[in-house]
Amino acid sequence: MKILICISNVPDTTTKIKPTADQKAIDLANVQWIINPWDELALTRALELKDAAGSNIEKITVLTVGEKIVEPTLRKALAIGADDAVRVDAAPKDNFYTAFQIAEAVKGQSYDIILCGIESSDYNGSALGGMLAEFLDLPGISSVSKLDIEGDTVRVNREIAGGFEVVETETPFVAIVQKGIAKEPRIPSMRGIMMARTKPLNVVAPAPAEPLTSFVAYHSPKPKAACKMVDAENVEELINLLHNEAKII
């Protein structure tokens, strides 16, 4: 069995994101890049399944669409335990474009399970997994929070309103995974980091395609208003502030 994890290269979740001065792009100076947290959990689950006794998983591949800047993120995935990596050499312009590139790179590779994080923590597109399943003409299962393999049957839990449903499927399929799929991401070991040097990282050329959308401008959210504390005894001041300063009554 072969598993593919689609990885997105995203800014560290503690990075302060700001647009460039002309608001046409995100200022990438001093950005620390990480594996998208949901993709990292997907990789963790795949590794757990591979490490389990009697596992028939022979290979775990990680793939991303990105320029050379994303390679450290792929190397990290290799250090954590993926067997090989693929980089489609193109900037991920929008969901359609990225899903199309992944589909083109994956066609004919006979992956049994393709895992995508439910969204990327930077652009929050939440559309790639579904599009990819469609491009590949494969079943797509969304909101997956648990994934087990018994022989050729895969059983997943899907989060739904008020609980979860259990779905059984056969391979191949695309699963869009979310929190719960694995407990916590693995820290790469020194051995893993050392081995990552020699694991294959294949760069493939993008297929001809154009994005369907384009970014026009980026804006930061308005800064949070300062909180003013009013003594509980001082109702008059509260009324005064609501009336004259906040101007909401």
Binding site: P188, S189, M190
Partner: protein, 379 residues
Amino acid sequence: MNFEFSEEQKMIRQAARDFSKKLEADVIERDYKAEYPAHHIKELAELGFLGMITSPEYGGGGMDSISYLLAMEEISRVDSAVAVIMSVHNSLVLAGLEKYGTEEQKRKYIPRMVTGEHIGAFLLSEPEAGSDATSQKTTAEDKGDYYLVNGTKNWITSGNTASVYIVIAQTHPEKRHHGINALIVDRHSPGISCGQHEDKMGMRSSDTHSVMFTDVKVPKENRIGEDGFGFTFAMKALEGGRISIAAQAVGIAQGAFERALSYSKERKAFGKFISEHQSIAFKLADMAVKIENARNLVLKAGWLKDNGKPYGMLSAMAKLYAADMALEVTSEAVQIHGGYGYVKEYHVERLMREAKLTQIYEGTSEIQKIVISRLLLRD
């Protein structure tokens, strides 16, 4: 000149940072209870940090000194008790064994140490021989095919947990320090007993003990190097160990600085954030400069070591400057926190207690000045 870390070095630093997040969850409690961080040391071993600079030939990671120093800094940022166990194990015991041990000794001891199954301890200090390491009272009497070891060692990191001791002892008192030997000793040999866990000021969750030797038989083949090589061995091991402790001091200071910086942007006084008061902003600037200075000394010493150049002077400079700097910076971090800095919950008082030890162990600040001045005046 290149100040960029390699991708691999960055990855190792990040791995150490991710690991140290787990230490944060129980570091205050372990420090308070002086509880050994057994489960953390187990994970540290699983991740390969306990053999990271050892050659892959013996099961280690084969990483360079810079990677190791970055990992030391990151772990010390949160918990120096864990960092010192890692430091003694890697820099003093494993590095010493790999460099000066026989092939047989290496094959016998190193593979189980890099996996963390066996932890190493370095037994040099004595009740009356700390800085003056030439005055070893512990004896290793030559009995033909074995040494008979008697004496007491003090302040031994991992004294009770370690399985492999490297013991420095006097064989030929008349030859003074040229008569000293370094012996690999099995902790569980008959005649070895550990004193009480030392109730320390800081790094309380590392187990520091005195160790007593009473007629302990050590096979001759456990001696490291030629007869009388022990003192030189100890000094060479400490030369490398010093950079590691200097990196630890940088980590402690960095941890305290980050907390002070973040607190200064949350706490208000006189109608504005305290970071907007020049007295606090200037403190932060001074702290940042000192940390950066110390880090550069540490990395330069590591770079010299990695490039096979003499690094004794730089390692002593790094240890001296970084340790003094760490105490100053942590003290300022407590000051910035005010009353909150003086209680355990905010970590900085603990980091200040940890910083103090870096001026004392693996060669006091005064000893570093002796090393530096002797090297300066040698020619």
